[in-house]
């Protein structure tokens, strides 16, 4: 006799159906989980055993086999604890089996029998609704699951005992209510910025058309401040976008208390971010910053400090609007349609674009003298370069030296070239040749 409980495995923001099958047979006492479980899933044996003992049940002294079908799909994540426990409880008779057959279950167990929150409940709820099942999920994620469909049966127990009592009829649980996140304080306002009318206009254009934007200017011009104020002039998410954004946030475990928000995401990774952090991947093929910024803004401050490989890895998501993470056994696709905003200094001292100035320190050399000054305002002389395309986030100042400044930089000064910007025409960037270290005789 095999007891079956439905659950899900996550591939990107899709939830694939997984069947948990439990068989209790005479034989040597053992509790095995098969079906390519990863370490967290294999450890669920201990959690299930402890949770059942804490709830007043005991594992029978028989051979318990748990199969997670399909058997060739690697199972990752800690949400298999609860379905395994419920299937075992069904097999030993502590829960009615026909009750379990109409639900999809996910959740992690604590050693005292309480049910801990897991990520990805919203996509699981949508998948369960599509299959005509209800959902059993941890109490903290109940509000998230309630969004999936108004008439879907959702149970959000706090512990195994509460769930068992619900099925017995002695303590029936109410359906959790969908929750909206309270707006977290006021957003930064554009009126905090004094002057900079040209930059504000560029911000408006970028907000209106979804264009990408690069702020290039001296330090203190207000580039980071301006970029942080872009979300305040973006429209709220429409329902379809809201669903996609919420599913990604749910899979990444970022939905606090299961409450959805219709504010556009604003992500600002530090320039030491690795490629996996930015694009996605790593353990469990988690969504990266580009996916977390889907429908919103990805702000890269100090753009030249990012490694060139990381910047190049942004090309594909910007072109196609999605990022595909390839693993050994399967491919995972996350949506990644975002707006890129970047800020940079044209050179080390920041004054390269100021007319009549020679920069001797910098990575990039100054523009030719007769470039029109970007702004009438003396206090801000950076230029705003609004890039119009997904494929060229950088438009660099030209790398030609001024005719007057024909001095070489002092020997021993370190120079780093900026990585080639994607989408630039194939003209060589005329940085001076790298200094070779002098070998001691």
């Amino acid at each position: 006799m095999v007891t079956r409980v439905a659950t899900v495995a996550f591939e990107g923001i899709e939830a694939r159906a997984v069947d948990v099958q439990v068989q209790i047979a005479p034989g040597a006492v053992a509790f095995t989980v098969v079906g390519l479980p990863d370490k967290a899933v294999a450890e669920s044996r201990e959690r299930v055993r402890a949770a059942l003992i804490a709830s007043g049940l005991a594992l029978p002294a028989k051979r318990i086999t748990v199969n997670l079908a399909p058997a060739d799909l690697p199972k990752e994540g800690s949400h298999y604890d609860l379905p395994i426990a419920l299937a075992v409880m069904g097999a030993i008779g502590a829960l009615p089996e026909d009750a379990l057959s109409s639900y999809c279950v996910l959740g992690e167990l604590a050693l005292d029998g309480s049910i801990t929150a897991v990520a990805g409940v919203l996509p699981a709820a949508m998948a369960a609704n599509g299959r005509g099942l209800g959902l059993i999920c941890p109490a903290a994620t109940g509000p998230e699951a309630a969004w999936a469909a108004g008439d879907m049966d959702v149970l959000a127990p706090r512990s195994l005992i509460q769930l068992a009592n619900h099925f017995k009829g002695s303590q029936v649980m109410a359906r959790p209510r969908p929750a909206i996140a309270a707006p977290a304080g006021t957003m930064p306002d554009l009126r905090d910025i004094k002057g900079q009318e040209g930059a504000k206009r560029a911000l408006e254009i970028a907000a209106a058309g979804g264009h990408n934007l690069l702020f290039n200017g001296p330090p203190g011009a207000g580039k980071s401040m301006l970029a942080a104020r872009l979300p305040s002039i973006l429209p709220p998410l429409d329902p379809r976008e809201l669903l996609e954004v919420s599913m990604i946030q749910s899979v990444a475990g970022q939905l606090k208390d299961g409450a959805l928000s219709n504010r556009r995401p604003f992500r600002q990774p530090h320039h030491s971010a690795s490629m996996a952090a930015l694009v996605g991947g790593g353990l469990n093929a988690r969504p990266g910053e580009v996916s977390l910024a889907h429908g919103g803004v990805l702000f890269l401050d100090e753009l030249p400090e990012f490694t060139p490989q990381v910047l190049d890895s942004l090309r594909q998501p910007m072109e196609t609007g999605e990022v595909m993470i390839a693993r050994a056994n399967h491919r995972v696709t996350y949506p990644a349609r975002f707006q890129l905003v970047a800020a940079m200094n044209p050179c080390r001292c920041g004054m390269a674009l100021e007319p009549g100035y020679t920069c001797r320190r910098g990575r990039t050399s100054v523009a030719p003298r007769n470039t029109a000054p970007a702004s009438p305002d003396r206090s801000w002389t950076g230029s705003i370069c609004a890039s119009k395309s997904p494929r060229s986030p950088l438009s660099t100042s030209s790398c030609r030296r001024r005719r007057k400044a024909r001095r070489r930089p002092p020997p021993g000064s370190r120079r780093r070239g900026i990585g080639r910007a994607p989408g630039l025409p194939a003209r060589p960037c005329r940085l001076p040749p790298p200094m070779r270290p002098v070998r001691p005789p």
Binding site: S389, S395, R403, G423
Partner: protein, 91 residues
């Protein structure tokens, strides 16, 4: 097309139709494409921004001044660099 498509994510063929400039605008963008050596993608990019500018002004048709502003954002030094002869590399 999904309702949340913006000008920036609009397919190229559609943006050519939606942002078709008037006669003066067409002359400007043609001239700019030659002087600034715009690629086809650069051309479409400029059209997208010009379409946003026209939308911000509430105008149906993209005009020369929208295209001019869109071109002005196109890398102030990049455009100048393209138009200018390169100095010798022995600087």
């Amino acid at each position: 097309m999904p309702a949340s498509t913006t000008n920036a994510t609009c397919p190229a063929s559609l943006i050519e139709e939606a942002a078709a400039p008037d006669a003066e605008g067409t002359a400007l963008i043609r001239h700019a494409a030659e002087t600034m050596r715009l690629s086809a993608r650069g051309f479409h990019r400029t059209l997208r921004v010009a379409r946003t500018l026209a939308d911000l002004d509430g105008e149906e048709r993209v005009r020369r001044l929208h295209l001019a502003e869109a071109l002005s954002y196109r890398g102030r030094t990049e455009g100048v660099a393209a138009a200018r002869p390169m100095p010798s590399p022995t600087a």
